[in-house]
Symmetry: C2
Subunit: 193 residues, 2 copies
């Protein structure tokens, strides 16, 4: 996804963008990811749907921006599929650990995880995005069963939780390369059986 | 751990037991697992430390009972070490998935996970218990690096989260045996390298 924030912007356009994001957060929370539509979000923000597409391209791009997520599914997919298939596990582990190592990128991810643990509405919204927009696409792109990508997701979300929320030592201070070596073969086995 | 709830109990002793558990929850929350002592908890509950040992045997047993955890570390350790080493991964996956399949057993585990996500004091208390009382003991018993048991822990906590909190399909409805087959080799590789 390319967010066209810096091109062709009229004065005051940044407020419009912010209003679209606020409307998106409200509509995604109310309807979940699947039932929310760009048209409905545009209506809520009182803008033309074309403007939403101009800023965010797709509903997925809008969700990613609204939740301030550091990774875009299309980007993940691209990075996973480029390069040799026999290193896909290592590549995914390295990507997730590199992104979450940055506190600014990690904060909204942990905030979403906290909401998901305590709020049924947040779970519903995330579940649809995680499966339909993210995991199933990667699995289908790789030609593997959906259960296998969810096993990999579980490994990686567990590591992020243990490293950055529970802060279990030695995992919390472990070197990136050591973790890639330990976790890479697990993810490789799930994604390239 | 054997909780001697049903033997040699005087009338009114069940209240004493409840008071010890309430005192334990307070002291563990205030001091964390490591710094809390059976003596300090007994003082808080205004009972003799011998009575705490009578009911709960060890500080670990007291923590497990106070947090209403469905698994006791000593029991886990025993179950993991009995039987062939080459099936240890399968055995651990089966144990965790069987215990968490029971809603009554799962509820306090999810409650602790929720607290850990949102409450720094709860994280501190859990971190010490998880590492010192649980994971390091299993790792030392198996003669493996602490990082390896934490990778297995991350895989399993991620699966419980994805299956019972996020309820991602097809993982949430997957058959126990299918999950044992998928996840067993991962845990096996971590625990018996």
């Amino acid at each position: 996804m390319t967010v066209k924030r810096r091109t062709g912007r009229r004065p005051g356009a940044s407020d419009t963008r912010g209003e679209i994001l606020a409307a998106a957060r409200q509509v995604f929370a109310e309807k979940g990811f699947d039932k929310a539509s760009v048209r409905g979000i545009a209506r809520e923000a009182a803008v033309d749907p074309a403007l939403v597409h101009h800023y965010f391209e797709t509903k997925e791009g809008l969700f990613v921006a609204a939740m301030r997520l550091p990774i875009d599914p299309v980007e993940v997919m691209g990075r996973l599929l480029e390069g040799p298939r026999e290193e896909i596990g290592e590549r995914l582990v390295r990507l997730i650990l590199t992104v979450t190592a940055d506190e600014e990128a990690r904060t909204p991810v942990l905030a979403l995880m906290r909401s998901a643990m305590t709020n049924e509405q947040a779970v519903h919204m995330m579940r649809e995005f995680i499966t339909n927009a993210l995991l199933y696409r990667v699995a289908d792109g790789l030609g593997i069963a959906h259960l296998r990508i969810e096993a990999a997701f579980a490994q990686l979300i567990g590591v992020v939780l243990a490293r950055y929320v529970l802060k279990l030592e030695p995992l919390a201070s472990a070197d990136l390369e050591e973790l890639v070596e330990l976790l890479g073969p697990t993810v490789q086995r799930y994604l390239a059986p």
